[in-house]
Amino acid sequence: MSGFWSTVFNADFVFAIFRITAPILFAALGAIIAEKAGVTNIGLDGMMSISALFGTLISYWTQSWLVGVLGAVLVGMILGLMMGFFALRLRTDIILTGIAMNMLGGGGTIFLLYMFTGLRGNTSSLSSPNILIPTLNIPVLKDIPVLGSIFSGHSVLTYLAFILVFVVRFMLNRTSTGLNIRAVGENSDAARSVGISVKRVQYIALIMSGALAGFGGAFMSMYYSQSWNVGMIAGRGFIALAAEAMGRSQPVGAMFSSLIFGFAQALETRVSGIQGVSSFLVAAIPYLVTIIGLVVFVWSSRRKADKRRRQISTSDWE
């Protein structure tokens, strides 16, 4: 049994948690920005898949990982603009717009890949080490035992994901764009009455959401799996939505809930290698954790709200 614990829980395992959390975190931040502006983006999964594909293709064409990542982000932004066009201009329901985006991310990407390259289903024949996202060895930190092997040597985008948590928090709380986004999401009529262009703000939010999905997609195809294949996103965009809900639309909260899913998924990859454990049941764990987490957090926040209401009403009596 002690062998089990030491193969599962060690510095490599913690390293894996951060690696697995990063793409979910990107998408969860995207979900937060959209949700705050009152445009629930359930198309994140499809956005990630499409931008992941273009990240790989563009890095292959230009032989530069940086251009590839920026290309993926740009594609994500275009997809956000597209969602905005249908949801805000043509007034298609935002949920249905998101579902359509996910359809494009499923079968549509296979078609696009074929259209651009003639390949079917995956891009492994295009990949080479020089167009993958590089890893970063942090000086000093990398030489510290345990901590070094946990926090050093991650990909550039892994660090970026965690930095963006605080950037997004700052943007939402301290900038006028963020203020407008929150005003529109909380009460669009009130926002309109003080002269904020609701549609414009929602467009901006969807485009930012798309950019973050683009980072997540690039991370998946240009680092995590080292090439693009259909189904590689495997519901991470949906898990990100759950992380957003669990983190109550707060960047730091979403970071912790993303880490919980990262933990569950890292556990899955570890445990499924062990004899006698059903890899299928283990594969279900992250999704099950998502549901349980969502329920627990919504339930507890509801109870807190109830309690507060009760306190207010009793203080009225006094």
Partner: protein, 373 residues
């Protein structure tokens, strides 16, 4: 007069959305293919017409195949109509289809029963399991307040992996090269409606019967009325004394019931063993169908036929030309987006309203002028 004009306008608008979506598809085909005209012919004409040299003939076997493709999607389409009518975005239809199909398959393999009774029991139990799959997200929403959309999406994956576990580790037929169950007992199979390899079974007729039943339920019963009323205005429904929570749960349960039934009938009609290795995708197609049918069960067969036709067209296109069959995803997404767009052709609609108002005004003026004489 006004009402008739608006109905005509809405039909034209729907057609315009479909044509626009097909135009988008055509653009992609021209970009992707070396033989775009052959590809378009396969997509649009070949599903019903076969070409042998110079002569074209109506292809009845292909029609049967299209009708066979409609069987599971009519059920999921009906299920989504009921679930979305209550204004709940339960996306668990996908999991319900797979669970219903799997449980029906198990009954078909391990529980011998007399012919006639066997498929009925298997399909009903499959439906019940499907209902449970969509019931859980609904309960979580109503009792706890957790988003039914997120939990149903997650639940689909949980259902899929649990089924894959049992299929691989408990019920697998090890003598076969690929992962599949043992073959069904003959008595459980749903009989073919026509000869040939089309797999058009009596399930098609059952689906049509359920179209009628669901339409009656939604438009002629108290529960159907309550479901639709909650979808339109849940506050109104609540204050007029309807039990919103239990009606919502009922709607989601029925939606899963129909989806599970579709899965069971598809598995027992099309295959000899259970061999789905991932979510089959009929749940998503069901959503597109419900959008096209505007949540009205009576329109479901037409929407299902249209999508099945395109599906068959895409299959033929990928066999006989160089365009991959996944084209269907792009067509579906475009239809989806344009068809559901409220403001699509809103300019034309505005003109219609203005013209109508002017006509009425002119008629009124003419009347008063006559009275004045």
């Amino acid at each position: 007069m006004y009402k008739r004009r608006m109905v005509a306008f809405n039909i034209l608008r729907g057609l315009a959305a479909i044509i626009l979506a097909l135009a988008v598809a055509a653009i992609f085909i021209f970009l992707a293919s070396d033989e775009p005209f052959e590809a378009l012919k396969q997509l649009l004409i070949a599903p019903l017409v076969s070409f042998r040299g110079e002569t074209a003939a109506f292809n009845v076997q292909s029609l049967y195949q299209i009708l066979a493709l409609m069987i599971p999607t009519m059920f999921t389409g009906l299920g989504v109509c009921v679930m979305f009518s209550a204004d709940m975005f339960n996306l668990g239809g996908e999991g319900a289809v797979m669970a219903g199909g799997f449980v029906a398959a198990l009954i078909g393999i391990y529980l011998p029963m007399p012919a006639g009774v066997h498929p009925v029991v298997a399909v009903l139990v499959g439906a019940l399991v499907g209902g449970l799959v969509t019931l859980i997200p609904a309960l979580l929403r109503v009792k706890v307040g957790a988003s039914e959309m997120v939990s149903s999406l997650m639940f689909n994956y949980v259902v899929m992996y649990i089924i894959m576990h049992y299929l691989n580790n408990v019920f697998a037929d090890r003598s076969k090269g690929s992962t599949q169950s043992f073959p069904f007992i003959e008595t459980v199979k749903i009989p073919q409606l026509v000869t040939g390899g089309s797999r058009l079974t009596y399930g098609f007729l059952i689906a049509l019967v359920f179209v009628v039943i669901t339409a009656i339920f939604m438009y002629r019963t108290r529960w159907g009325y309550q479901i639709r009323m909650i979808g339109i205005n849940s506050n109104f429904a609540k204050y007029s004394g309807m039990s919103v929570a239990s009606t919502l749960i009922l709607a989601q349960f029925i939606g899963g019931l129909l989806s599970g039934m579709g899965g069971a009938i598809e598995v027992l009609g099309r295959y000899n063993t259970f061999l789905w290795k991932e979510l089959p995708g009929y749940g998503w197609t069901g959503i597109t169908i419900a959008i096209l049918a505007r949540n009205n069960p009576a329109f479901v067969p037409f929407a299902a036929f249209f999508l099945a036709y395109l599906d068959r067209g895409c299959q033929l296109m990928s066999t006989h030309s160089d365009v991959p069959s996944e084209m269907i995803a792009i067509i579906q997404a475009s239809i989806f987006l344009f068809f559901a767009a409220e403001q699509f052709l809103s300019g034309a609609r505005q003109k219609l309203v203005v013209k109508n108002a002017k006509d009425e005004l002119a008629a009124m003026e003419a009347e008063t002028a006559q009275e004045g004489k």
